[in-house]
């Protein structure tokens, strides 16, 4: 069961049992002093967390058990499901809360019945014994090709997110008011060569807010960065709860519907000019935080300032990027029936100028006041 070596889908989240797994004993049956940690497995938890793989617990214990293990491990779990629910239900809530798919999860439990229950209910999950897990750090599924600063802090970022969500549910007022209330800061700036590893990581990891529907290679991203015909833009996100770092990026094609690196901007034109955004990708941590809406608004206004009359975003429709389509629809983008990009993606577009007067379109989305754009730096 253990080493399904043929399947090397990267694991994004490991869900650990506590009793007789992360702890050498049973939390509630050890009298006044909780049992000590299993040092080998806690080492694996720290090692994998350092690689940006989220660590979570699902345990039939009170929440204090998870807090106790967090103290032993010296890190925050991205999610902790403590209670007496069936393990598949706990894993389902963790997957939904963190935005990871079943095939991106591993589950470690000493109890054969719990393992069997998860394997039957969630066949995509990689189910491991504690003995398997002790070796897991050397497996390809647990060895992401790039590990960035953002990745190493991922567990902490999810813990901050959980505190933010609690504040949001206590807040009465609109989402926009909440974003201002918690000091949201979105910084849009030109990408630098040093951002390349993080951009590549975003292309591998983002699904819900991704227009391309598939990873872009590091070489392709590098050539977009150095291309005179493209502007690669990064988005950083922070608020009073914490700094999420580089959460998203977009590529603006400076020539009409052209994705060829090195192409130049046409000098004069008579027909309406369309600019294209061949790639938008954003971490799902930014969902609900006004960040993608801000980026789309800024792209529209930048393209308009550069003289474009239309902005088009080719989008591959997947069963996971409905959130991206919602943001497109919210920013006024529509697909024209039958219009496709050369690679088969559906072309969503919106007018930037009024066809008669040439003035900025009246319904152009506004860039919120918590956004810092390149000109303001």
């Amino acid at each position: 069961m253990a080493s399904t070596a043929a399947d090397t889908t990267l694991i994004k989240c490991v869900v650990w049992d506590i009793d007789n797994t992360l702890l050498d004993g049973v939390y509630l049956e050890s009298g006044e002093r909780p049992p000590p940690a299993n040092p080998a497995l806690l080492g694996v938890v720290r090692e994998l967390a350092g690689r940006g793989i989220l660590q979570a617990v699902a345990s039939k214990n009170p929440p204090a058990a998870a807090e106790y293990v967090e103290q032993l491990a010296g890190l925050d779990f991205a999610a902790a499901e403590c209670g007496w629910d069936a393990k598949p239900d706990a894993l389902g809530r963790i997957a939904a809360g963190l935005g990871v798919a079943d095939v991106e999860m591993a589950f470690v439990d000493d109890d054969m019945l719990e393992r069997a229950e998860v394997a039957a209910a969630l066949p995509g999950v990689l189910v491991l014994t504690p003995e398997d897990a002790a070796e897991a750090a050397s497996w390809p599924q647990f060895s992401p090709p790039v590990v960035t600063a953002e990745a190493r802090r991922r567990g902490q970022l999810y813990a901050e997110r959980s505190r933010r969500q609690t504040a949001a549910s206590d807040f009465t007022g609109s989402r926009a008011e909440f974003l201002r209330h918690v000091g949201t800061r979105v910084t849009i700036s030109a990408a630098a060569a040093a951002d390349l590893p993080r951009l590549y990581e975003l292309s591998l990891r983002t699904h819900q807010l991704n227009s391309s529907g598939e990873p872009v290679t590091e070489e392709e991203l590098g050539s977009l960065l150095s291309s005179a015909g493209h502007e690669v833009t990064t988005v950083r996100l922070a608020d009073d709860f914490g700094d999420d770092g580089l959460v998203g990026a977009a590529v603006l094609g400076l020539t009409e519907a052209d994705e060829t690196p090195g192409a130049t901007v046409p000098a004069a034109r008579t027909a309406p000019l369309a600019m294209t955004v061949p790639l938008v990708m954003m971490s799902c941590r930014a969902l609900g935080r006004g960040t993608l809406d801000a980026l789309l608004a800024w792209l529209c206004r930048s393209a308009a300032a550069a003289g474009a009359d239309f902005l088009q975003v080719p989008c591959r429709l997947t069963d996971r990027n409905v959130p991206f389509r919602l943001a497109l629809a919210g920013a006024g983008f529509r697909a024209e029936a039958g219009r496709r990009a050369p690679d088969g993606r559906v072309l969503f577009s919106r007018p930037l100028t009024d066809a008669l007067t040439g003035a900025l379109a009246g319904d152009l989305p506004a860039v919120p006041d918590y956004v810092v754009t390149p000109g303001q730096r």
Partner: protein, 85 residues
């Protein structure tokens, strides 16, 4: 709106209040735009709303409506769902 669409619109008001945490949405007029100045639906709240719609009515709005034009107002979404149940 038809009687069914009226009922769906009523249920959608409650769903909108739940996914956004804003109780005042329980009383919005049917013509309220869902995006922008009206409800201000963002991609997170929109995704949660569509998930609840699918669970309750078995209508997969994202699969059936490429442009999500049905999300223009509360009334258009209610009519879209009512026509498919």
């Amino acid at each position: 709106m038809t009687a069914t669409a009226d009922q769906v619109a009523g249920a959608l008001r409650d769903l909108l209040a739940e996914v956004t945490g804003r109780d005042e949405l329980r009383t919005i007029p049917a013509a309220t735009p869902l995006f922008g100045g009206g409800v201000g639906l963002d991609s997170l709240a929109g995704t949660l709303l569509l998930r609840q719609v699918q669970r309750r009515y078995g209508v997969d709005v994202a699969a059936a409506d490429l442009n999500l034009d049905s999300l223009e107002t509360l009334a258009t979404l209610a009519a879209f769902i009512a026509a498919r149940i």
